[in-house]
Subunit: 144 residues, 2 copies
Amino acid sequence: MDEKEVFRIGLELVKGSRFALLSTIGDDEHPWTKMMFNIAPEGLKKIYFSTNTSSRRVSHILRNGRTSVYFFDQERFVGLLLIGTARVLQNEESRKRFWVDGFERYYRLGVNDPDYSVIEFVASKANLYYSLSKTDFPVHGDNL
Amino acid sequence: MDEKEVFRIGLELVKGSRFALLSTIGDDEHPWTKMMFNIAPEGLKKIYFSTNTSSRRVSHILRNGRTSVYFFDQERFVGLLLIGTARVLQNEESRKRFWVDGFERYYRLGVNDPDYSVIEFVASKANLYYSLSKTDFPVHGDNL
């Protein structure tokens, strides 16, 4: 499969996924995985999540930004693993940009709730599993 | 929620899951996650997977057994993270015990295919996400 096709399949998966699995490295040096809402991906390069500032994920990322984000489709047996680095954003612009109606359920004080943070994940490389075959490929900023 | 109830909900999720997400630590020290068949769990304590001996997961585990296994139900918003240690089994007894009809698709030489290995994951602790609340609890061998 050529890189363009791999990228197309990966992008389709990311765009069609309501959820993504974010994995961080815990204080115990084990990988910790959690299902998160896939709120506003920018191609395969940047994936955004909202989370509680008090959450384990935030403390993991502040300690170690090495992370991955996994998308998959159980029916079609497609999986895309993005490997990259995450950081925690708490500025007003990011909070507003990634706010989604209904988030009051999780952040009672709304967009300015101090317990509301945005996680920005930036991918550097990827692995696509499709039709029983695996393909590694780099993720550049320009192939959004 | 008391520990017994947490355990019951976790066990129901594990038993009802065709898939589980196995996360390993890569050579790059990033977490790597992959969807795997959940073939024959023993309570919450031991989770088994079949995999290609030549796979990345096997090389990760041989280097570092620190792993996690994640189960979730997107519809019900339930997630169970098991944190523990994995090892690779290649003995005949394990190969036979965890062989599933149809695995010839992945291991062409059958149960004795050198590219067929079993991953045994043993949980030490867990985190259940249920009804918007999180509960940490230990996983003992006797609360299967």
